[in-house]
Amino acid sequence: MEEKKIILTEEEKAKNFEAYNDRTHVIGRVVCIITLILLTGVPFVMGAFLGAMPDFKAVGRGFLSIGIVYFVSCIAEFLVYTPMLGAGGTYLAFITGNLINMKIPCAMNARDIVGAKTGTAENEIISTLSIATSSLVTILVLAAGVALLIPLQPILQNPALQPAFDQVVPALFGAMAYKYYRKNIGTAVWPLLVMSILFMLVPSLTGSTSFMIIPSGAIAILIAWMKYKKS
């Protein structure tokens, strides 16, 4: 039987998308709030089972020493990643985590493959599909891994494989660098140069690479903007 093809007008498409987007914000917020309650509640549920409650003084001390750093880095992540991922993608990515080492490159890769443009309806759909798929794969791999932890442990922790698993991030960024640099070498050369020199002069900065994304990104955007103005 031949499949019936529905042809939509641009207006209908825009209306459908707007309705979808509005619902996404409502659903995204509700799900984020539920997840927040669950995640902060877990230690207390575990505490009830273990017969102990968190030491709030220690939590306060810990938050002041390390939490502040993550608080600031979360602001940066939120500002940078939200436009990349769109509404649905952002809610889901912040719920499921592992942004830099997985969700962002995954969504960018998917976006490139189908050729979606930032801010379009297509980009929104592709990024949500990509992040949802990626989250499910992680959940499945971890669940399978945890279930098979005892037989898997010697393989995964095999000393010969250890160096490979330590290098997931360089492997990821090497491949992504080629893909993005080759078409934008004029934009890429400056942040790369500035960052390399900066890390050479202040090697201790490697501990805060995730913060250095901001100046590096700013340089790249500035160059792209100058090129854009020129053209």
């Binding site: 939509l8 659903i27 939590v59 499910l136 080759r182």
Partner: protein, 248 residues
């Protein structure tokens, strides 16, 4: 202590939340799929997104699984499983767990000193430190995107800088990491001694070369299917190079 931390009840508590989040992901996926059809998107494009994202995600997920194993020695398996399945990121969780253990009064993250009170304190601190992305999303996601699209509409008239800006931001992100590998190699063990770790640079170079090869195949041979696997395969090659380099 480790036995209690690995008890079925702990698995049940964490498993329930992981299941909830898996459900949320499926829900978002189905909604996006349907919305894609409703706005007339090509189904093959959406299918390609799913296959490419799934193949890409396997390797980083295995890396994350190693993170679970690494933390499970001190915290038991269920908590790291939950943290890394749901919200956390590999590079955050280990650092936060370590700092949280110190704040809880332990000398470091170790099972021999672990008490129930220290454990729940660590668990709570891990949750509080890495939840802000969600908090910001609840309050500001809609406003922020609205503001961006309003600004975008202005620039769209001039041809749309938004797309170029996103690409540039990503180039900046990648450059910060590659720059850090170069900087570490040059100055990690003293300024300009060129004796730091060269493995990340080698790995990045190998995976870049393999990526170049895939792009060449794809463009010259018109083999579009290659694109979905190119990133995962390039990463695998880079990681294999690290294992070989370490073995030599």
């Amino acid at each position: 202590m480790l036995k209690t931390l690995n008890s079925p009840t702990m698995y049940l508590i964490c498993g329930a939340i992981v299941l909830f989040v898996a459900g949320v992901s499926v829900f978002f996926m189905v909604r996006a799929w349907r919305a894609g059809i409703a706005i007339g998107m090509d189904k093959t494009k959406m299918k390609r997104t799913i296959t490419a994202s799934a193949t890409f995600s396997v390797l980083p997920s295995l890396g994350i699984l190693l993170g679970v194993i690494a933390l499970s020695g001190a915290l038991g398996t269920p908590l790291p499983w939950l943290r890394l399945s749901v919200i956390g990121a590999l590079h955050y969780e280990t650092q936060v767990a370590e700092a949280a253990a110190e704040a809880a009064g332990l000398s470091g993250l170790s099972v021999s000193e672990m008490t129930p009170r220290a454990f729940v304190t660590i668990a709570f601190l891990m949750a509080v430190c890495i939840m802000w992305g969600m908090v910001f999303s609840v309050f500001f996601n809609k406003k922020y995107l609205k503001k961006l699209s309003a600004g975008g509409a202005k620039t769209a008239k001039a041809g749309g800088f938004g797309d170029a800006a996103m690409t540039a931001m990503f180039i900046g992100l990648v450059s910060a990491y590659i720059g850090s590998y170069i900087g570490s190699f040059v100055s990690e063990k003293g300024l300009f001694t060129f004796s730091g770790s060269w493995i990340p640079l080698l790995v990045a170079a190998v995976s870049a070369v393999v990526m170049a090869l895939f792009i060449w195949i794809e463009e010259k041979k018109k083999a579009e299917w290659v694109e979905g696997f190119a990133l995962a395969a390039s990463m695998l090659a880079g990681m294999a190079a690290a294992a070989i380099a370490a073995a030599l």
